[in-house]
C-alpha cells in the first residue's frame, strides 16, 4: 500500500475527534443546582443503558468516517502482490520516457513501495526472448526465488515465447513520446522529368502540450520553392499537399525554427530526375529484364541494353553495367575497371562459386537477398546515376550514398517461381534503406526504439553493437532456425546503431526512430500482453504507483455515513 498524497496522513489523528468530543463533553465544568437529582440519576442509568450501544456504534462510525475521508484524501494506491518482490525489472526504453523521466526519482518511488527491492533496468542489454534457454530475460527471472515484477510498456515481440508465468507484469499503457516536427514527407512518383508535376505531402505534427508556430519550407536542391506560416495548437497536426516541378532530385522539407522536440525538423525526399541511361549486361537475365520493365510505371528515361561480349570500351561508355553470374575473371576485372571509371556496376551473383570468387577478388562480402530486392537495388543504381549526387546524408551531414567503389554486389536466393515479384512498384519508401545498404553493403533496419530485432549473422564470433553515443556493446550470436542470429533491442535512444564484426565490418545498420510508419516492427498493445500473461495488471502511471483506491474509499465513506444516518433515525424512532 502506498499513498500518492501521504501528507494527508498527518491528519489521521483527526479520527480521534469524535472520541475526544465524547469524552470532553462528559467532562463539563458547568454546574447546575437542581432540587432533586434522584430522578436524574435514574434517567441517567436508564438512558445510558439504552444509549451506550448506540453511542459506541456512532463513535465507531464517525471515527471510521473521518478515517476513510482522510485515507481517501491521501489516495492510497494498490500495487498488487508486490510484497516480497526481490527484483524489479524496469523497462527504460525510450518509449517509457513519459513515465520514467527521472530514473532516480523512479527508483526512490519504487523503493517506497517495495523496500530493499533490487531494481534492474533493461533496454540496452540484449534480451533474448526466443532463445532455447527460454530467453535471457525469462531465465533471469526464473533464477529468482519468489515473485518478480516487470514494469514495461512491452512490445509485442519482446516477451513473445518467454516463460515468466507466476511473475507480475505491470503493463504501462503505451504513451506516445512527445513529438513535434515533420512526421511525413512523401512524394507519390518514383521518377520525374524536368517538366513533370511532382505531388508531395508534408505532415507536421505538434504532439506536445505546448503550441507551436513557425514556418514550414520546401526546398528543391537547396532552393526554397514553397513556404507555409504555421500555427499548431497542442496535439494538432497539419498536412500540406501540393505539386511542384523539380530541377533536382533532392527535396527537403524543414521547419523554422529548427531543433524541434523529439521530432524531425528536416526531412528529405528523392525524386530521380532522369533523362537517359545506357545499361550494359553481360547476358540476358530474366530477373533483370523484369526489373527493367517496371510494372505500371512508364520509365521516363531511355534504357539501351547491350548484351553479349562486353569489352572495356563498351563498359566505359555505359552508365551502368549489370553482370550476372557465373562470372569470369575477366568480367570481374571489367567490373573493377567500370567501377574505377565512376560508372556503376551491379553484380548479380546466383551461385556460390562466383560469390567466393567475388569475395576473393574484390574483397566484398556477398549478402544474399531475395529476388524481389533485385529491382530495388537496380533502380537505386539508376537513380543515383541519373541524379549524379549523393542521395542521403547521415546525422553528421556526411553523404551516405557515396560511390566509393561503385559496385553493388547482390547475391540472391534462387526463387525462379517468384518472378512476378521481382519488381514491386512500392520500392520508393526503401530508398533510404538502399542508400544505406549501398554505403555499408549490408541490410538496414528501420525500427522503433522498443523493437527486439533479430539479425542474421554469418559468423559465430562475438559481434559488437556500436551505439549512437559511441559506446560499444558485445553481442554473441546464437544458433536458430536456418543459421546464426543476434537479437538486438530495445533501444534506449534514437539514432544509428551499427552491428560490426571483429574486423569492424558493418553487418547491419539499425536506424532507430520513433515513427511507427518507418518501423519494421508493430508496437505491441495491451491486448497482446493480456493474452500473454496470467498475472496482468494495468497501472495507469508508474510514478502514480498503482491503482488509486480513492473511489472505493469514498464509496465506503458514503456507506458509513448512511449507516450513521440510519442509526440516528433508529435512535429517534426508539426515543433513545
Amino acid at each position: 500500500m502506498n499513498f500518492s498524497n501521504p501528507t494527508a496522513l498527518y491528519f489521521l489523528p483527526m479520527a480521534l475527534i469524535p472520541i475526544l468530543i465524547h469524552l470532553l463533553g462528559r467532562r463539563t465544568r458547568r454546574r447546575v443546582k437542581f432540587p432533586w437529582i434522584e430522578l436524574l440519576r435514574k434517567a441517567s442509568t436508564e438512558g445510558r443503558r439504552r444509549r451506550t450501544p448506540f453511542e459506541i456504534i456512532l463513535l465507531i462510525i464517525r471515527t471510521l468516517l473521518i478515517l476513510l475521508l482522510i485515507l481517501a484524501f491521501a489516495n492510497p494506491v494498490h500495487i498488487g502482490n508486490l510484497k516480497g518482490i526481490k527484483t524489479l525489472w524496469v523497462d527504460i526504453s525510450h518509449s517509457m520516457s513519459p513515465y520514467i523521466s527521472d530514473e532516480g526519482k523512479f527508483i526512490r518511488n519504487i523503493r517506497e513501495m517495495i523496500p530493499n527491492v533490487e531494481v534492474k533496468f533493461f533496454a540496452d542489454r540484449q534480451i533474448d526472448v526466443n532463445s532455447p534457454e527460454k530467453t535471457y530475460f525469462a531465465s533471469s527471472l526464473k533464477s529468482l526465488s519468489g515473485n518478480s515484477v516487470i514494469f514495461t510498456d512491452l512490445q509485442r515481440n519482446m516477451l513473445e515465447g518467454s516463460h515468466i508465468k507466476g511473475h507480475t507484469v505491470i503493463f504501462v499503457p503505451q504513451k506516445r513520446v512527445a513529438n513535434r516536427g515533420i512526421v511525413e514527407f512523401e512524394t507519390d512518383v518514383p521518377f520525374a522529368t524536368a517538366d513533370m508535376p511532382v505531388p508531395f505531402s508534408i505532415k507536421v505534427e505538434n504532439y506536445s502540450a505546448e503550441p507551436w508556430s513557425g514556418k514550414v519550407e520546401l526546398k528543391n536542391s537547396g532552393v526554397t520553392v514553397r513556404g507555409w506560416e504555421t500555427y499548431l495548437k497542442p496535439w494538432e497536426s497539419v498536412t500540406y499537399r501540393d505539386t511542384i516541378t523539380i530541377h533536382g532530385s533532392e527535396l527537403e522539407a524543414s521547419l523554422l525554427p529548427g531543433d524541434e522536440l523529439d521530432g524531425d525538423d528536416r526531412r528529405f525526399a528523392f525524386v530521380p530526375l532522369l533523362s537517359s541511361v545506357k545499361v550494359v549486361m553481360n547476358r540476358q537475365n530474366r530477373y533483370l529484364s523484369a526489373a527493367l520493365r517496371p510494372v505500371g510505371i512508364e520509365a521516363p528515361f531511355e534504357i539501351s541494353v547491350v548484351t553479349g561480349k562486353i569489352d572495356y570500351p563498351t563498359a566505359a561508355g555505359a552508365d551502368v553495367v549489370f553482370l550476372t553470374s557465373p562470372l569470369s575473371v575477366s568480367e570481374l576485372n571489367l567490373a573493377k575497371v567500370a567501377a574505377s571509371s565512376g560508372k556503376g556496376v551491379v553484380l548479380f551473383v546466383g551461385d556460390s562459386s562466383s560469390a567466393e570468387l567475388i569475395r576473393k577478388q574484390l574483397g566484398i562480402n556477398i549478402h544474399k537477398v531475395g529476388v524481389s530486392s533485385i529491382g530495388d537495388y537496380m533502380f537505386y543504381r539508376l537513380w543515383s546515376i541519373a541524379d549524379g549526387v549523393p542521395l542521403l546524408k547521415d546525422d553528421r551531414g556526411n553523404p551516405i550514398a557515396a560511390y566509393a567503389d561503385n559496385i553493388i554486389v547482390c547475391g540472391f536466393l534462387p526463387d525462379p517461381s517468384n518472378t512476378d515479384f521481382i519488381y514491386s512498384p512500392s520500392f520508393p519508401p526503401f530508398v533510404n534503406r538502399i542508400a544505406l545498404t549501398s554505403l555499408h553493403r549490408t541490410t538496414v533496419y528501420y525500427v522503433h526504439p522498443d523493437t527486439m530485432l533479430t539479425v542474421p549473422s554469418y559468423t559465430t564470433s562475438l559481434l559488437t553493437l556500436k551505439l549512437p553515443n559511441g559506446k560499444e556493446l558485445p553481442i554473441t550470436p546464437f544458433m536458430g532456425k536456418g543459421g546464426y542470429f543476434v537479437r538486438i533491442g530495445p533501444f534506449k535512444t534514437v539514432g544509428i546503431y551499427n552491428l560490426v564484426n571483429q574486423k569492424d565490418e558493418v553487418l547491419a545498420v539499425i536506424v532507430v526512430n520513433l515513427d511507427p510508419k518507418e518501423s519494421d516492427v508493430r508496437p505491441a498493445n495491451a491486448h497482446d500482453l493480456k493474452a500473454t500473461f496470467e498475472n496482468y495488471e494495468i497501472i495507469k502511471s508508474l510514478e502514480g504507483k498503482g491503482v488509486s483506491m480513492r473511489g472505493k474509499l469514498l464509496w465506503a465513506a458514503l456507506l458509513i455515513f448512511l449507516i450513521e444516518v440510519l442509526t440516528i433515525l433508529i435512535m429517534r424512532i426508539k426515543n433513545i
Binding site: 463533553g25 463539563t28 458547568r30 432540587p35 432533586w36 440519576r41 441517567s44 436508564e46 433513545i576
Partner: protein
Amino acid sequence: MKRTGEKSILDPEIALRIKRLDLRAKLVVEGFMVGYHRSPYHGFSVEFAEHRAYTPGDDIRWLDWRVLARTERLYIRKFEEETNLRAYIVIDTSGSMGFENKLDYAVTLASAFAYILHFQRDAFGLITFSEGINLFLPPHSTTLHRRRFLSMLQSVQAGGKTDTKSIFNTLAENMKKKGLILFLSDFYGDTSGFIRGLKILRRMGNEVIAFQIIAPSETDLRGKSAIFEDMETGERLQFDPQTMKKTYHEILDSYIQEVKTSLRAGLVEYELMTTDTPFDIALMKFLKKREKIR
C-alpha cells in the same frame, strides 16, 4: 405576544411580583372571587351559646334586639369562641423548594388559603418543615393571628434536607380534633415518607389536600450537559439533558403518577401544581373540599 396587562392577578407571574404577602394574598383571593359566582364565605362560623343579662360596659353590638323588642329586657348574646374547622397549612421548606420560585408559590398559595379561612372564621395554623419543624403556629381565627401567620410566612426561607418523620409526628400529636390539612410540598427527598404520613393523617379522619409543587424547568430540562447538584444533599451528577431528556420525562411522569396514585388510594386529595399554574385551580380545589367538610 401576550401583554402583561392581559394577565390576571391569579397568574403567578403577576402575583409573585407583589412583595407584600398580605396584599398579594388579598388580591389573589379577590381576583379569584371575581370569577367565582358563589361567595366563598359560608356563614358565621361562630356558634350561639346562651343569653345573659346586659351589664354596662358590654358592647351593644351583641345585644339581642329581638328579645328586647319582645320582652323589653336587655340581653347579650354569648357565642362559642371555637370555630367548627381547624386547618393546618403545612409547607415544605426544604432545600428543594428553594428551586426557582417554588417556595414563593407555595407561600402565596398558603396565604391565600389563610385569607379565605380567616374570612370563614376558620382556625388555621402553620407548620413549615425541612429537617425538622421550623415554624409552628397553632390554629386560630383572629385577625391578629392572620397577621402573625402572614408575617411568619413572609420570613420563610428554603434550606436543609427533608425529614418527614418529625412533621407527621408533630401533626399527629396536635391534631386532636379532625381538621383540614393543606400540604404544600414538592414531595422530593422522602417521597414514600410523605405518602405514608399523609395517609395516616387521612386515616385519623382528617381531610388532606396535597399540592405537589414543581417548577416547569424541572419537567422541561434544557441546556447542555452539566453537573447537577442536589439542592438538599449536595450530591453531584453528570447529566446531559439533550440526550437524556426523554428518558427523564418518562421517569418523572412515572414518579408523579406513582405519587398521585398512592395518595388517591389513601383518599388523599392530590393536585400537581407547576409554578406557572394559576392560583385559582388550587383555590377551587380547596373551596370544594371546604364545602364538603361543612
